[in-house]
């Protein structure tokens, strides 16, 4: 502690009022105050999961403040290593000085893709497809059984790898035979009406197309607590688009989401998400990257679902009398949950529930980072990052995994063969 507390300046910069966007009239981002705050302690580099296993990756400090400084000269381009950042955003959490690292990375990646990447390259086409998973899923889920059959075919997988650079090592996530939205419609919408307890559910792509049971659990749990739940029209949160530098795609999706959700905020709804990357995106990345009417309000009123209940309901009390069948879980906190301060809530909450054994499998990143681990050239890095988590899962008592993030759950299943559940599903079992 002694070294860290040595006063280095009489006037530490504090950036409470720092508004990174729209400083320049032409709309170009000015991140200089953020860069100036970096005093090169390198703690971000020591928490970067990619830098830990990939010697060629220069780490978040370079990708952020250093690259920003270099780029002030017109003839310096964005370094192509930016495409190796997986957008886990752990560096944000590590920085003791409030440098907006992930915002810098997102901005640099967007510029790299716009200006330096050939739109005809295999990499660009592949990334565009991966980033727009929601569109793909919409088409695929129209004929789920056929899609599952085709995508699960090993020949198709090898073709995907050869033609597109999508790894053949992974099994494509199966589409549900009935999407969450279809279930919701057939059910006839909300079963509970309330004037003052209202939430709008941002289900995201994955719980709609792939794991509708998570969305159903969300609805049942919230209705159990007396909430009126609505399911607004929505598009992808934008997370995979940020991670692939497709900022224009992300902004189009964001404008739909912000507009739909803004309307509901006015009617007294708060926004809740069951995927921690979705809530991260709405809360932090939207206002950092875009200027849309109502964007700040949406960010301020978006919550992760469990977090929302913990703040507004006596969840501990409700769970005190609950009991479920004996079961043990190996819990992994997604990076994007970590960055929102939600990494311990599931373990904390279920630790006291009769019949449940929850074990946190440590603080390593799962390594898949959305679309990252699907890229042929990143697959190995992705699995190396995940190694720690796999080992801890095997060591834990539970044979069922638990996490809030859809792609973390893919990686957990891929690395261990375990079935993976969402905390909402356990909450549903305990309370409904």
């Amino acid at each position: 502690m002694s070294d860290a507390e040595f006063p280095q300046s009489t006037e530490p910069t504090v950036q409470d009022d720092f508004e990174p966007v729209s400083v320049f009239e032409d709309g170009e981002m000015d991140l200089r105050p953020g860069a100036d705050n970096c005093y090169k302690c390198s703690v971000c580099d020591t928490t970067c999961p990619v830098a830990e296993v990939d010697d060629d990756f220069p780490g978040p400090k370079f990708q952020g403040p250093e690259q920003w400084r270099l780029k002030r000269k017109d003839d310096v381009e964005v370094d192509d290593s930016i495409m190796s950042c997986s957008n886990c955003m752990r560096c944000d959490d590590a920085c003791p000085s409030g440098v907006p690292l992930s915002q810098m990375h997102n901005t640099a990646r967007g510029e790299y893709v716009d200006e330096q990447m050939s739109k005809l390259s295999r990499e660009y086409v592949r990334n565009r497809i991966l980033a727009n998973y929601g569109t793909l899923a919409r088409l695929g889920s129209k004929v789920p059984r056929l899609t599952n059959l085709v995508m699960g075919n090993s020949l198709v997988q090898r073709l995907n790898e050869k033609l597109l650079g999508i790894t053949a090592e992974r099994d494509f996530p199966a589409f549900a035979t009935r999407t969450f939205r279809e279930w919701w419609r057939e059910r006839g919408g909300p079963q509970v009406q309330s004037e003052d307890k209202r939430v709008a559910y941002f289900h995201g792509c994955y719980s709609n197309y792939n794991t509708p049971e998570v969305g159903k659990a969300m609805v049942r749990v919230f209705e159990e607590f007396g909430y009126e739940v609505v399911v607004p029209r929505q598009r992808c949160s934008g997370t995979p688009m940020f991670a692939n530098g497709m900022l224009d795609d992300a902004e189009r999706a964001a404008s739909v989401n912000v507009s739909e959700l803004s309307d509901l905020l006015e009617e007294g709804y708060d926004v809740i998400a069951s995927c921690t990357s979705c809530s991260m995106s709405l809360r932090q990345e939207y206002p950092e990257l875009f200027q849309l009417s109502g964007i700040e309000e949406v960010a301020a009123n978006t919550y992760e679902s469990l977090e929302y209940l913990r703040i507004h309901e006596d969840l501990d009390g409700a769970l005190a009398d609950a009991a479920v069948d004996e079961q043990a879980f190996a819990y992994h906190a997604p990076c994007h949950a970590r960055n929102q301060g939600l990494d311990r809530q599931a373990v904390e909450l279920f630790r006291e529930v009769d019949g449940v054994e929850m074990e946190d499998v440590g603080d390593s990143c799962s390594g898949i980072s959305g679309t990252y681990g699907w890229k042929e050239e990143k697959y190995e890095t992705s699995m190396k990052i995940g190694e720690d988590m796999f080992e801890h899962m095997h060591d834990a008592a539970g044979e069922v995994g638990m996490t809030e993030c859809p792609t973390c759950s893919m990686q957990m299943e891929h690395g261990t063969g375990y079935e993976i559940k969402h905390p909402l599903q356990l909450l549903e079992e305990a309370l409904c």
Partner: protein, 418 residues
Amino acid sequence: MPIRDDVVVIGGGLAGSMAALSAAESGAGVRLISHKKSTLRQASGLIDVLGAVDGDAPIADPFAALDRLPEEHPYRVVGAEGIREGLRRFDDVVGDRYLGSHTDRNALVPTHGGTIKPTARYPVSVAPGLASAAEDTLLVGFRGLTDFDPVAAAAHLEAAGVPFDVDGAVVEFPIQFRDDARTTRFAKAIDEDQEDVRDRLAGTVAAGIDGHDRVGFPAMLGDDHGTAVREYLEDRLGVAVFQIPTGPPSLLGMQLEDQLIDALERAEVRLSTGNPAVGYEAEDGRLTAVTVDRRGQEVPYHATEFVLATGGLVGKGIDSDRESVSEPLFGCHVPHPEDRYEWSESEAFGDHAFARFGVVPDDDLRPTDADSAVHFPNLRAAGGVLGGADVAREKSAAGVSIATGTYAGRRAGEEVAQ
């Protein structure tokens, strides 16, 4: 009722961790709130209690020097027994991974800059390098690892008058890394023995031993397998091998952070990290909740007792602008000269007023206002946020955090039990 605990500790550094452990010991339900990863990652991992008073350094026995400290020093509030209690609790946390508890006297630890730091507790791996042992020493650094210059460090140590010969040598690390690789990268390679690096490292260094009694490396000799690495090198080199604490990112600091988190988990302290505490709620003069900003909305964390351990100027527990100095969370009084030019001295290492800025505790570590009245009867402060100590000059930062954290946490727990 939403989120509620008996004691809420704000700040995840050494002071906050010790406060939470101490409160949990009393049986209270404790939550620790911290914004970012703690500054322990940048700390040396050494535990200093008191190394200098009024420019008189090094102090041999910190306890014997306590009454030479100014009246407003936090040590004067907790007293010698408070410091001992804190150290006992710290010893429980680190177990056999630290040494120094056998004596009140300071150990003298060589730092990566070649200075000597008077220290009360130090990691086992640092012990063979103590400057009080008259053994000829070789310091080894690696080309490309700019964090540690062994030749300059050796020259500094010689100039400091250590009772032995010191030499420095820069060698090639057996594995070629990128130019700006971190110490953690080297540490990992050694820890996992990548590409037979331990054997090759021993081979490189063996040639230069040449009559030295011990060899010091920057603190990167492995992580999980640190003990095995040192044993292997000692065996191969035939001399004692020790680690020299480095600047950030500091492996010894990170290892201490891990040990504290393990201890907090064992004590069932609830940890909430990632969002800053920004405000509070109070009723009838007592604090009822601390509010945490989760990007736009403030979430209250209710409790009956609170400990403020947010750090000093660098840890951002104390804030300043060109006009004034403040404690931003509760608005506690922070005395400072009105004229900004009196905040500092012209000499870089002078007796700066700013170094002692912080809240003013009463005799129970409760922050007081300008009229010496407590702000809240159920709020105590610990660590760098407390004023009155110049921890950098005194070499007392860790000790102040441990002693006041332990005291504040214990008192919070006792109040809950009432």
